[in-house]
């Protein structure tokens, strides 16, 4: 299937060193439209650096990033978002004093190029408000759509991050630990939200929760000590010796 669908996102030989420390080394990942890929790895494997490199927050030491055929390696974070590379945050980054509705409306307006208009009203902005209401309804956030974000539960904040990303209509979505910090009773909500993501969207999920990874991803890559040590089916991950060593190794370090 992945051979037939076109490659929408490609990271090639991406490396980053801080001084002599190779935090990411020669990481290559290609994603097709509609792909559901999970990136896993023990703590300190370089996952956060990878996210920062891909989203343009820090420049790579070597390697390239392509989005929909365009080389975006030199582009800044904002320009990458505008081209359709959208992320959610590991720890929610939301506007505490604004409502979920306002967040999603702002994302819709930005997608339409109207987010910074002066001679317009933000609230009561018909079409944008309708679209926001639809997205919030899809994620079951209608009831709290007009509460301030500080007043809503953390699980709902995580769902809101996904709602914002949906409003941005990305080509590639990077989910940075979408279930982190969510009580296990609420993880099914996140899972259901992820199932509703558009089928054509390429999704790269960085996640610790293995149950979630196995249910969501059709392909898994494993990062350890800055290098990719495994690419393949979720079912094969646990059988792989290198992966087991990487995880056990990190546990051994943690215990000692």
């Amino acid at each position: 299937m992945s051979q037939m669908a076109s490659t929408v996102f490609e990271v090639a030989h991406l490396s980053k060193s801080f001084g002599g420390l190779k935090v990411n080394h020669d990481v290559s990942i290609a994603m097709a439209e509609g792909e559901r890929l999970a990136l896993i790895g023990p703590n300190g494997a370089g996952k956060t650096t990878f996210v920062n490199l891909v989203t343009g927050r820090i420049p790579p030491s070597a390697g390239t990033v392509h989005l929909a055929g365009e080389d975006i390696t030199k582009l800044g974070a904002v320009a990458r978002v505008r081209r359709g590379l959208v992320r959610t945050f590991q720890v929610t980054r939301l506007f505490p004093d604004m409502t979920p509705e306002e967040h999603v409306v702002m994302a819709v307006l930005q997608r339409q190029g109207r987010a910074t208009r002066i001679l317009a009203r933000f609230h009561g902005n018909g079409a944008a408000a309708d679209e926001a209401a639809d997205i919030l309804a899809t994620l079951g956030l209608t009831d709290i759509a007009r509460r301030k974000v500080v007043e809503i539960a953390y699980g709902q904040q995580r769902l809101l991050e996904i709602a914002i990303a949906m409003a941005q209509r990305p080509k590639v979505l990077l989910l940075d630990e979408p279930a982190a910090g969510v009580p296990s009773s609420d993880t099914p909500l996140i899972e259901r939200a992820l199932e509703r993501l558009p089928a054509s969207l390429a999704v790269l999920m960085i996640e610790h929760d293995m149950d979630l990874v196995f249910r969501f991803a059709r392909r898994v890559v494993v990062l350890a000590a800055g290098e990719l040590i495994f690419q393949g089916l979720p079912a094969d991950v646990a059988k792989d010796d290198k992966v087991r060593e990487a995880y056990l190794g990190s546990y051994a370090h943690a215990v000692s």
């Binding site: 978002v81 509705e101 702002m106 910074t116 208009r117 408000a129 209401a133």
Partner: protein
């Protein structure tokens, strides 16, 4: 859906159009009350309006964008000097002078913004001080244009609409100033409710989230500096027209710092606070300074400490809270 949007306005107090309408009516009412009740203090009240425009302009960048400035008088002074110099050189139409002040403030706003937005936090604050000090020094040195430390005087604005003289009692100046303030206030209320205004609030709350939405901060903030400069510049021009003098104090660090104190006193980020803070600060200054010219600042200091400790959202925030508690009580006691 339109129904839902209407409901939104009604259920979210901060976004009620009706509430703002009431606020604007209240401003006009209090302004006119001042006109009838304090006819001997109109020049003072006009100065309050002039400074209120400065504090409103500061609220735009500090209250809405989260950028603290101790140099806002640079924009105010630019407007004051531009209007003053234009007036001495034959431009006497008051409306035109206000526009000149706005333009000068806006241009200074671009420059100030372009410099200040290079930095963040404390260095940014220091830059704002440096800018106002530089302009202060420039105005001092350019004696032939600005009158230096003697100030700029001798401007004679034309009568309003050709009819109402800017006389000694300052009636025309006051009503002119009040109309200007109300117009600006309405425009700013619309501004902060625009998509642009919401993005500015977003930048104050979490710039990283704004960039993750694909919005660049710099052009947004620079535009806000321009608008802020125009508002401050109009305040400066109003001061120049009404007092017919422009002094170095209009482009001083002290005025900038006072403007920030007034804003914190009144409360940031709702525009009402800027007005409340200016009126309270200047009223205290006016009354207490008449009684004890050396220690009025002590009282302002004590007031400020009390506000910061007991009402961190400022006077307007406390009024808001009180109103909410009262109406809630009324609602509960009802059937």
């Amino acid at each position: 859906m339109a129904q839902v949007s209407g409901l939104n306005a009604a259920t979210r107090p901060g976004h009620g159009l009706g509430r703002d309408l009431a606020g604007i009516v209240l401003i006009i009412f209090l302004g006119l009350a001042g006109y009838w009740l304090l006819p001997d203090n109109l020049s003072f009240l006009t100065r309050v309006i002039s400074i209120a425009l400065l504090v409103l302009s500061l609220d735009l960048i500090t209250g809405y964008c989260g950028i603290a400035s101790l140099g806002q008088a640079a924009l105010y002074g630019a407007g004051a000097y531009a209007a003053g110099i234009a007036c001495i050189n034959g431009v006497s139409e008051p409306f035109l002078l206000i526009l000149i002040g706005a333009a000068a403030g806006a241009v200074t706003g671009i420059l100030t913004g372009a410099i200040m937005l290079r930095a963040h936090g404390l260095p940014q604050l220091v830059l704002s001080i440096a800018i106002v000090q530089l302009l202060h020094e420039a105005a001092n040195k350019a004696y032939s244009i600005t009158g230096g430390s003697d100030g700029l005087s001798g401007m004679v604005p034309a009568p309003l609409f050709g009819l109402f003289e800017f006389d000694l009692w300052g009636r025309a100046a006051y009503l002119f100033g009040l109309a200007l303030l109300v117009t600006v206030f309405i425009a700013l209320k619309l501004l902060v409710r625009s998509p642009f205004g919401m993005v500015c609030r977003g930048l104050k709350e979490d710039p990283l989230r704004v960039s993750a939405l694909g919005i660049s901060a710099f052009p947004v903030l620079l535009r806000m500096f321009v608008i802020s400069g125009a508002v401050a510049g109009m305040g400066g021009a109003l001061g120049a027209i009404s007092t017919q003098v422009v002094g170095l104090d209009s482009v001083s660090f002290e005025l900038s710092a006072n403007a920030l104190v007034m804003l914190v006193l009144g409360g940031l980020g709702n525009l009402y606070g800027a007005l409340v803070g200016t009126v309270v600060f200047m009223a205290v200054e006016h009354v207490v300074a008449a009684i004890n010219p050396f220690h009025w600042m002590t009282l302002v200091g004590a007031l400020l400490i009390a506000i910061v400790l007991f009402a961190p959202r400022g006077l307007s925030g406390s009024l808001d809270e009180a109103a909410r508690i009262l109406t809630r009580g009324a609602r509960r006691s009802g059937p």
